[in-house]
Amino acid sequence: MTDHTPSELAPDDVALIARWRGGEERAATMLVERHAQGIARFVASLGERDEVEEVVQDTFVRAFGSLDSFRGESTFRTWLLTIARNLLRDRQRVRKRTKLHVEIQEGDIVSSSNALEGAVAAETEQRLRSAVETLSPMQRSIFTLRVTEGLSYKEIAIAVGSTEGAARVHYHNAMRAIREKIDE
């Protein structure tokens, strides 16, 4: 159906992992270059603003340090997204305990001013991004994975810890909400 299916991507990632295990440092760099930006968008979509790069770095360090547990049942990218989500969840727990930050959860809306902080964009683009920012973190992350990363609902379900059907519903609800926001 698609030209860019996970199964077609997998061999490249698996080959790079094998090369990394064989001692080739460059393989790690290639894998980071391939996936870091997508992981960063996912992390940001879940509400993380201040420490996106730190979370992405932790994700890769954790992943490369525990490649034993990667069995290839999902794509490497989906596995990375899952690790990133778990790391974010851990950080949220710590923040909740220390009361330094508001926990990110379903229904928690990140304000447009924070989302757009430092961004210089055209009015149309700003409006679009503002509309996305009004989504709940779950809707926003699923919508971002679908639109920017091109993940299937099955992959999204694995990444966000949900079901395929729920991911589909969240996506369509997000699309409807964005359209309504734009039409206002």
Binding site: M1, T2, D3, H4, W20, R21, G22, G23, E25, A28, T29, V32, E33, A36, Q37, A40, R41, A44, V52, E53, V56, Q57, F60, V61, F64, G65, S66, L67, D68, A119, A121, T124, E125, L128, R129, V132, T144, R146, V147, T148, G150, R168, M175, I178, R179, I182
Partner: protein
């Protein structure tokens, strides 16, 4: 604007926007979009949103890669390589074999007990496994063991009487024992025989006497005869 009723096509709009469809599918989805106003609007929105969402956040991939190389020890890589070593597969195979062997042994042991039951469940055959002492002291009429295939089943006492001699309780009542000789083959009993037998068994106590009645040997011979035999 009419609502799209083709969910399958609508589901593929992100793939179309991301140019990830095969040529064939792209043509199909584009043909649908050309006729569906809602999908056309949604596709336009997706194409506008994608660059906006892709723009941020930017991360320094070189710095992240350097951190990975610095923080992931070489031993972690070797550990990963060992995880697929053949000996792990060998251990798993050995474990499977061990479980299979235990299961086979348990199955064999179970089967070794089964023939004892099979013998006593076929009183019609006239065969008695007297060589097997395990069946001889059966203290009570276990229904499953002693049940003849027909006619006698409704009344448990009949089951006891119908069982081979070595299955009957050693302290069986005299009236019951008196009939035992005629019960080698229950399937040959007439209806009158069954009624007579049933009537005689109705008077039995559920708990056998501790001792047989005087002058009657549980095995069917008179005590007088035994004593005359040099006892």
């Amino acid at each position: 604007m009419s609502e799209c009723t083709n969910g399958a096509m609508r589901d593929l709009l992100p793939e179309l926007a991301n140019e990830r469809l095969s040529a064939e599918m792209r043509l199909a989805v584009e043909a649908h979009v050309a006729e569906c106003e809602e999908c056309a609007e949604e596709l336009a929105l997706l194409r506008a949103l994608r660059p906006a969402l892709l723009r941020e956040p930017a991360v320094d991939t070189q710095r992240i890669a350097a951190a990975v190389r610095a923080q992931v020890p070489a031993s972690a890589r070797r550990g990963s390589a060992r995880s697929s070593a053949p000996w792990r597969l060998a251990i798993a195979a050995a474990a499977v074999l061990a479980v299979s062997a235990i299961g086979y042994a348990m199955l064999t042991r179970t089967r070794s007990v089964t023939p004892e039951v099979a013998v006593v469940r076929q009183p019609d055959s006239g065969h008695v496994d007297t060589a097997n002492p395990a069946t001889a002291p059966a203290p009570a009429p276990a229904p499953v063991v002693a049940t003849p295939p027909k006619a006698i089943a409704p009344t448990p006492p009949q089951q006891v009487a119908g069982a081979p001699p070595h299955v009957a309780p050693p302290t069986a009542a005299p009236s019951m024992v008196a009939s035992a000789g005629a019960l080698d083959n229950l399937s040959d009993l007439s209806d009158d025989d069954v009624r007579t037998l049933t009537a005689s068994l109705d008077g039995l106590s559920a708990v056998p006497d501790a001792e047989p009645a005087a002058g009657v040997d549980p095995l069917g011979a008179s005590l007088d005869d035994q004593s005359g035999g040099g006892n």
